[in-house]
């Protein structure tokens, strides 16, 4: 059965779309209108799971050139659409039936909302005649997702399907992006109406009325930039959304200003660039956080001063003036009071600033940061003696070396996520996909599937912990059914590692609920006809990574790492950004004594 379907898809036997439906109004069923609108919006792939209330839509799929990826749980569909969007910049689309299908999307929608990811979820809904009667598999999904979507629609009439979907695409991508849910009743899918793609075009994007980057604020910003002695650029994900990578780089180079990145902003500025300091915040390197604390000017670009990057607000960058360049007016002065808010598209604003910005000699400040970096810099772990222990940092560092930093890495949430951020150096935009705001365990595997579908030519690596991997590991079957090539690295320490680390530091080593029994992941892979191997020694890491890369299909490596390793540096909750818990000396990744 499955092979038949694969052959059919490989042979592209699907009917090509009738392009006439886009040039002249045509009667279509609501179900056909769904696909016709998606095709018209440029969608090629949809991640979904069928069910009663969405069956008319599935029935019409065969008429349209769209690849449907059957997931194993709707949460997977949402994360896949999310990973698809993060890897490509295009809108990801997930589909589910009513009731439980829709509620299973919720975690994935919230993940996309917190990280401002353009995504559209289409759900089936019970027929409009029984809406509101607690019908079978009826749930008020527009009510449930109201606070975790940028907007949502309940569509009851066939003729409203195309306009709602087209508006959903406009909303998902414009301004600060975000997820949009479109709930369509079964009768709206079944009935017919005239489909007029052009007439269904959404209202033009109305920029937020509080956008403001007037000449006075620009002048003030320029003055702060000119007079700053110790400036730091804070690079966030907004740089990727705005496509302002070149402009931020020009700003940094012109003014010789060092750049600190948020977790989601790590790929917005090349890691190998001499002005890149690295990641800031709770697990940022010490010199990055010290630079921010000592700065006299912060230029925040497309970031939102999340509590994970500021530490205690009352002690945050106390001597710094702050320029906040951000498209969402609701983020200005939310956590950190700023001196100049430039509210609008980052790229446009930087293009206004740059021509008026003189060059600047930043040598003294850069030297001062270099001195802080000095011995605090992590030893090249490749040259540390092999003491028989396998550390997650080794694993990630070796994956970076073997892939030459060129892979798309999709992480889960926890210790391995922070180690990835520290030891995998990303030089390409969108090459790290990770759940930052919501911190959703189970994100990695499905999001990697989405990334691979979006970018089939790219090498994709999953880096997940043993805990998070088990949350969504049924999607291994999706990988096999879709014949995808993904490399999976499980950083297996037998604990819910980040929680254990908090218990070690703040709960007197009371390891309640964190020791974790896992299946043999290699056997689990084998059950899916996926090859895999265990790695217990450091000497085996590089060759295992190489084997995975050369293997034509998906390959899983179960790395059995040091069980009670912790992520350093670390800022305790409520502590100031510079009050870091540093790497202990017995750790092979130790810093020298002069740093302590």
């Amino acid at each position: 059965m499955i092979m038949d379907k694969r052959e059919k898809e490989a042979g592209n036997h699907r009917n090509s779309p009738d392009t006439a439906i886009y040039t002249q109004p045509t009667p279509l069923t609501g179900a056909e209108a769904v696909w016709a609108t998606l095709v018209g919006e440029g969608v090629r792939d949809v991640f979904g799971y069928p069910g009663g209330a969405i069956l008319p839509v599935y029935d019409a799929l065969r008429k349209f050139p769209i690849r449907h990826i059957l997931v194993r749980h709707e949460q997977g569909a949402a994360h896949m659409a999310d990973g698809y969007a993060r890897a490509s910049g295009r809108v990801g689309v997930a589909m589910a039936t009513s009731g439980p299908g829709a509620t299973n999307l919720v975690t994935g929608i919230a993940t996309a909302m917190l990280d401002s990811i353009p995504m559209i979820c289409i759900t089936g809904q019970v027929s409009s005649k029984v809406l509101g009667t607690d019908a079978f598999q009826e749930v008020d999904i527009t009510g449930i997702t109201l606070p975790i979507t940028k907007h949502n629609f309940l569509v009851r009439r066939t003729e409203d399907i195309a306009p709602a979907l087209r508006e959903a695409f406009r909303i998902a991508q414009s301004g600060r992006p975000g997820p949009v849910l479109v709930d369509i009743t079964k009768d709206a899918q079944q009935n017919s109406a005239i489909f007029d793609f052009a007439a269904a075009a959404p209202q033009p994007y109305r920029p937020h009325p509080m956008l403001s980057a007037d000449s006075t604020s620009i002048r003030e910003a320029l003055e702060l930039l000119r007079t700053a002695k110790r400036p730091v650029i804070l690079a966030g994900q907004g740089i990727l959304h705005s496509g302002a990578m070149e402009q931020v780089r020009a700003l940094a180079e012109r003014t010789q200003t060092p750049v600190a990145c948020t977790l989601l902003g790590l790929t917005a500025f090349p890691a190998s660039h001499p002005l890149n300091l690295g990641m800031m915040g709770m697990h940022g390197e010490s010199w990055v956080n010290h630079a921010i604390q000592q700065a006299d000017l912060l230029i925040a670009c497309g970031m939102r001063f999340d509590d994970r990057v500021t530490g205690s607000l009352s002690t945050y960058a106390p001597n710094a003036k702050k320029i906040h360049i951000e498209i969402d007016p609701a983020e200005i002065n939310k956590n950190v009071h700023v001196d100049v808010g430039l509210i609008g598209d980052l790229k446009e604003i930087l293009e206004t600033l740059l021509p008026r910005l003189p060059g600047r000699d930043g040598a003294a400040w850069l030297h001062a940061i270099s001195a802080m970096k000095g011995d605090a810099a992590v030893h090249d772990i490749q040259h540390l003696p092999d003491n028989g222990h396998l550390y997650a940092a080794h694993v990630i560092n070796d994956i970076w070396r073997e892939t030459k930093g060129d892979a798309i890495v999709v992480t889960d949430v926890g210790q391995h996520q922070m180690w990835e951020a520290q030891y995998y150096k990303h030089d390409r935009p969108r090459s790290l996909i990770t759940s930052g705001g919501l911190g959703t365990m189970g994100f990695a595997l499905p999001a990697a599937i989405g990334a691979k579908v979006a970018c089939p030519e790219k090498e994709v690596w999953v880096i997940a912990g043993d805990g998070g991997f088990q949350m969504t590991c049924p999607e291994l079957a999706t990988i096999v059914q879709e014949q995808l090539k993904i490399n999976i690295a499980i950083v297996n320490n037998g604990y819910l590692g980040m929680v254990r680390q908090w218990q070690e530091k703040f709960y007197d080593k009371n390891y309640e609920g964190t020791p974790l029994l896992s299946p043999d992941f290699v056997k689990l892979a084998d059950a899916h006809s996926i090859q895999g191997t265990h790695v217990r020694h450091r000497a085996e890491v590089a060759s295992a990574v190489e084997t995975a890369r050369r293997h034509p299909g998906t390959f899983l490596i179960d790395f059995h790492v040091e069980q009670e390793d912790s992520v350093y540096p670390m800022i305790a909750p409520g502590a100031a950004l510079h009050e870091m818990i540093r790497r202990p000396k017995q750790n092979p990744l130790v810093e020298t004594a002069t740093e302590e």
Partner: protein, 199 residues
């Protein structure tokens, strides 16, 4: 402090839920909320009185504007505005107490809108403090308030201030002072009348 926002929104199912859900999400308590028609078909006017720290108003406004279907938001508490509320009170009254209540109603410019053997109903329009004044007098006079219904505040800016519905639908020029966002100090001085209405 109490903030009074007027939001013009598209008259669509569920939009009110979006507005109230936003306040809940922002952890801001709504004191009163009124919704009704405007001079434009398809546009509803909501007046929201909410309790929040003074510097939170710009973020509340910015968040309201982020909702699809919100056309215009005005922080009227910061401007010279007429703020009114309507209340209906059913008071226990028989022949012996009625005439006193008639007098009281006259003083407060309230109207008697229903008269029954054992009760009467007052309708009063005015600022919140005027309504609260009447309630206080009634309670001190040992009258029994059987029922009270208050509408919550409605607000409209004074003077030449055309409705912004058309502007909101077409012209995107912001009426709010964008400076309120980039520095608290640059904010215009609070209006003196504001306190009267918030007393």
């Amino acid at each position: 402090m109490l903030h009074t926002f007027v939001a013009l929104v598209e008259d669509k199912t569920g939009l009110l839920a979006r507005v109230t859900s936003l306040f809940r999400r922002l952890n801001v308590n709504i004191i009163s909320l009124t919704v009704g028609g405007t001079e434009t078909v398809g546009v509803s006017r909501t007046t929201i009185v909410a309790e929040a720290a003074e510097d939170r108003a710009p973020r509340i406004m910015a968040s309201l504007y982020k909702l699809e279907g919100v056309l215009d938001v005005d922080d009227v508490g910061r401007h010279s505005a007429v703020i009114r509320e309507l209340a209906m009170l059913k008071i226990a009254a028989d022949q012996s107490t009625r005439s006193d209540l008639f007098q009281l109603a006259e003083v407060f410019r309230a109207r008697i809108v229903d008269l029954a053997p054992e009760s009467l109903m007052l309708e009063i329009t005015g600022s919140a403090s005027k309504i609260e004044g009447l309630v206080q007098i009634l309670l001190q006079g040992n009258y029994r308030i059987l029922e009270m219904a208050r509408t919550g505040r409605m607000a409209m800016r004074r003077g030449h201030h055309a409705s912004n519905v058309l502007e909101a639908l077409g012209d995107t020029t912001p009426r709010i002072d964008p400076k309120t966002l980039s520095g608290v100090l640059k904010r215009e001085a609070p209006d003196l009348l504001k306190d009267e209405n918030h007393a």
